[in-house]
Symmetry: C2
Subunit: 196 residues, 2 copies
């Protein structure tokens, strides 16, 4: 196959994903009909489903990319960068996840497919927590898994409040209290941000 | 009006609310059609809408009751009781809230109506935070509002993870880390639960 064709395939894939993401965000998952997906991507249903087998596949690919992006941010830029990112996420796009939770519970196969794909970033995330515990960024008297679960809890809360339009706590407060909860002794003698 | 009639009205209202709650949880907000609401409540649409003007009114009344119940629990039994309650909430019912976040953003009048009604519990919630700061249960170097926003963030995270079927952090871990973040000096000399 000539090289140009491979490049075009990649371009086309990205075009479909970007359009589908806009379409899901605007109309919701159920509301993203095939006709609307065609309009949003600028491609025929034949072309779309040639690249992705189903609407579900489209969503899963987008969710996997989200997980990979968050993981990269965490591994390369740290917790503060992740918190700031979540606070700025598009509420309309977040709502697509919320809409799918009923489905995730009622259709275990769907949840399984997402989880299996997203799990590929878990080792990198965990290694970064262990590193943060070694360097004293995070406390080391908890299991890495416990730290991860708590950070995840905070990020879930921020995502939900962002999606609902509720008042978010100031980012400095969140970072300060997170540090009080799971921060280590990176700078002994330095008072933590929120405690006097 | 004879007294029995008033009692019957109250009973009927409760019957409608209980049925509507089951119906929303089972079918989602959009899926709770008038026919399904009739089946779930055992009453005709005429009877239902005689008590509540619209499906929206039904949901708002249920949401207001949730807020009141959580507030009572917080005021009378404290944070641990609230955390344990949220962790046990019905995922199907939680999903109804999630489903409505898109609507809450797109229809400010709807959000306004819920907020106005739910806001009645805010003074009691705030007074309880202030009391917890006075007694040393919570740290007193933060504004009560900041403490409230952080607790809310944790509860939102728990609710979202409960709704999604994700792995929840163990309740003792959540309570311990919450204590490290916002706990006061109620028992000086006692190490906090999670820090050695």
């Amino acid at each position: 196959m000539p090289k140009i064709s491979e490049e075009r395939r990649t371009e086309r894939r990205e075009q479909i994903l970007a359009g589908a993401r806009r379409c899901f965000a605007e109309h919701g998952y159920e509301g993203a009909t095939v006709v609307r997906l065609e309009t949003a991507t600028g491609l025929s249903r034949g072309a779309i489903f040639n690249y992705f087998g189903s609407k579900e596949d489209l969503f899963i690919e987008l969710a996997v990319r989200d997980a990979a992006r968050m993981s990269d941010l965490w591994v390369n830029s740290g917790l503060e960068a992740v918190v700031r990112e979540v606070i700025e996420l598009d509420p309309a796009w977040l709502s697509v996840y919320l809409e799918l939770f009923r489905r995730l519970r009622n259709d275990p196969g769907f949840g399984k497919r997402i989880e299996t794909r997203q799990r590929t970033v878990a080792p990198a995330n965990r290694a970064r927590i262990e590193e943060a515990q070694r360097t004293g960024e995070f406390r080391d008297d908890l299991e890495p898994k416990q730290v991860g679960l708590f950070v995840n809890l905070i990020l879930s809360g921020l995502a939900l409040q962002r999606a609902s339009g509720e008042e978010l706590p100031p980012v400095e407060l969140v970072l300060g209290l997170l540090d009080d909860a799971i921060g280590g002794r990176a700078q002994p003698g330095t008072p933590s941000r929120t405690r006097a």
